[in-house]
Symmetry: C2
């Protein structure tokens, strides 16, 4: 079994490659739920939905959020009526969110997601990291902001002074998935707001120490491939570089895949992590995604 | 000022006629809320929305429910996902229901509807009969059913043995509207499930006794013009005829408009109600609707 830790942007791209070459029944994806919240009356588990849509071949690849080719009839009408939505929810996407909200009246988030994955014909296991409600606040120069307010309303522009988030318990199956896996892949997601919440769950770091773990760096040079990771890394005291990522995961990481442009960092990182692989990590087409997936999966004999 | 009591089917048709000839600012519509409930995670005030859409010229005139020309993208996707909706909610209609649900987090239903009416450019006052949650159960030969289950899932087919509903308080403005009106019009809605809930509000019957009240019969011959009224009237001991309607409202009614086909009942009804007007009440086009509205409004000098 292979387990992937995922956020909502970088890792889903890699999942498209992994999906091409592994046995889908042997794949478990543990997904960040830190920013889950109610919007427009429905429960939004944005990263989980992105992973669902990615695995169901429905993802909108422009935004890595929502459904490809979706319409926005209800969303546009809400704006006309004077109640614009903070999250732009499409009509097909809204059905996912309504169903999840209704299922959660009698099921945990894990159970709801499992039902939805089955409904969408997904053969891999998608595990929300936790069934508990969590909370994340971004402390900025303009005040304390909700994560989605920082991300969407303020377009990540304010200066980030601190990040606070609540600790939650792992959902059933999370620790077991790590322990039963031959390989855990830390996808190229935001180390602070997507991966750290998973690492902070009780028992995860300990389980990772006993498992083969390979990460794909979300940083090329001193820049993030996608998303606001660099601001969050800076404020968390993590160097914005592949080396910073390697250091951040050093206590459990066995291998890191870094970009060809960072070849100069290889020797330095090898002082921290045993195995460093180099390839093109800009995932602009399916061939590149599949190539990275192959490199990751070939770092040990599975 | 003129006040109209409305349910969700017959009276909205008459409102289209009334709308053509009165000063819209002088019109108040008190709407049944007995069957309000949550569906698909949103608060549904079906009769209120039908009146909103009627007054905003958006009503779907085939079903007297929902928005004309609406799409059903989210609704159809929910069915695909295995969570079919009991109420078929269109994409534009869903925006109304989402907004109402969100507004009700900080407002009463009355306030929410007032905001929505303004957003839709409606100049008349639309007053939900109550801001309290009510409950209606239809006791049938196959057991106790929720109203919408009886209406939609069971298509009104079970034999009705009894109807139970909870008493609620009138919303602010309801009694005042009746007292300040020169005329109250009881629309041709279901006397038992649409009008009786309004009549049962504390103070309404008393206020009606001091006001000029005219009703339009929803019954022609021994048949209802629309909806399942006859089953409900039968079980409530109300004769299914214009005479039965007249008797039911006798304690406060000053005038009743009955259909030309019921001319033979005129004398009989005149023993119960002072003034009986006769016209074609099958509201199949706007001319007929406007004609009935004129007859109603001309029964006294306004």
């Amino acid at each position: 079994m292979i387990t992937v830790f995922s956020g909502g942007t970088g890792t889903p791209k890699l999942l498209q490659g992994i999906k091409e070459i592994v046995n889908l029944e042997d794949l478990t994806i543990i997904v960040n739920t830190l920013e889950n919240d109610y919007f427009s009356g429905v429960y939004v588990s944005a990263d989980v939905d992105t992973v669902l849509y990615t695995m169901a071949d429905m993802i909108n690849e422009k935004f890595w959020y929502g459904v490809s080719g979706d319409t926005f009839i209800t969303n546009e009408r809400l704006a006309e009526l004077g109640t614009p939505e903070l999250l732009r929810i499409g009509d097909i996407d809204r059905a996912t969110k309504i169903q999840k909200t209704l299922l959660m009246e009698t099921h945990t988030l894990s159970e709801a997601v499992s039902i939805q994955a089955e409904n969408m014909g997904i053969k891999s296991k998608i595990l929300p990291m936790s069934n508990e409600n969590s909370d994340i606040k971004i402390i900025t120069d303009i005040g304390e902001l909700e994560f989605h307010d920082f991300l969407i309303k303020h377009q990540c522009e304010p200066q980030v002074l601190d990040i606070k988030f609540s600790n939650v318990s792992p959902a059933p199956g999370v620790i077991e998935a790590i322990k039963e896996s031959e390989m855990v892949i830390i996808g190229p997601s935001n180390p602070i707001t997507s991966i750290l919440p998973i690492l902070s769950l009780d028992g995860v770091r300990e389980a990772l120490k006993d498992t083969y773990v390979v990460a794909v760096s979300p940083i090329i040079g001193t820049d993030t491939v996608s998303g606001p990771a660099s601001k969050f890394m800076n404020v968390s005291g993590v160097e914005v570089s592949a080396k910073g990522v390697a250091s951040f995961y050093a206590d459990f990481l066995d291998c890191i895949v870094i970009d060809s442009l960072d070849e100069n960092l290889k020797e330095d990182i090898e002082n921290i992590i045993e195995n460093v692989e180099i390839t093109n990590t800009i995932m602009k087409d399916i061939n590149i995604k599949t190539n990275i997936a192959k490199i990751v999966l070939n770092t040990i004999d599975l």
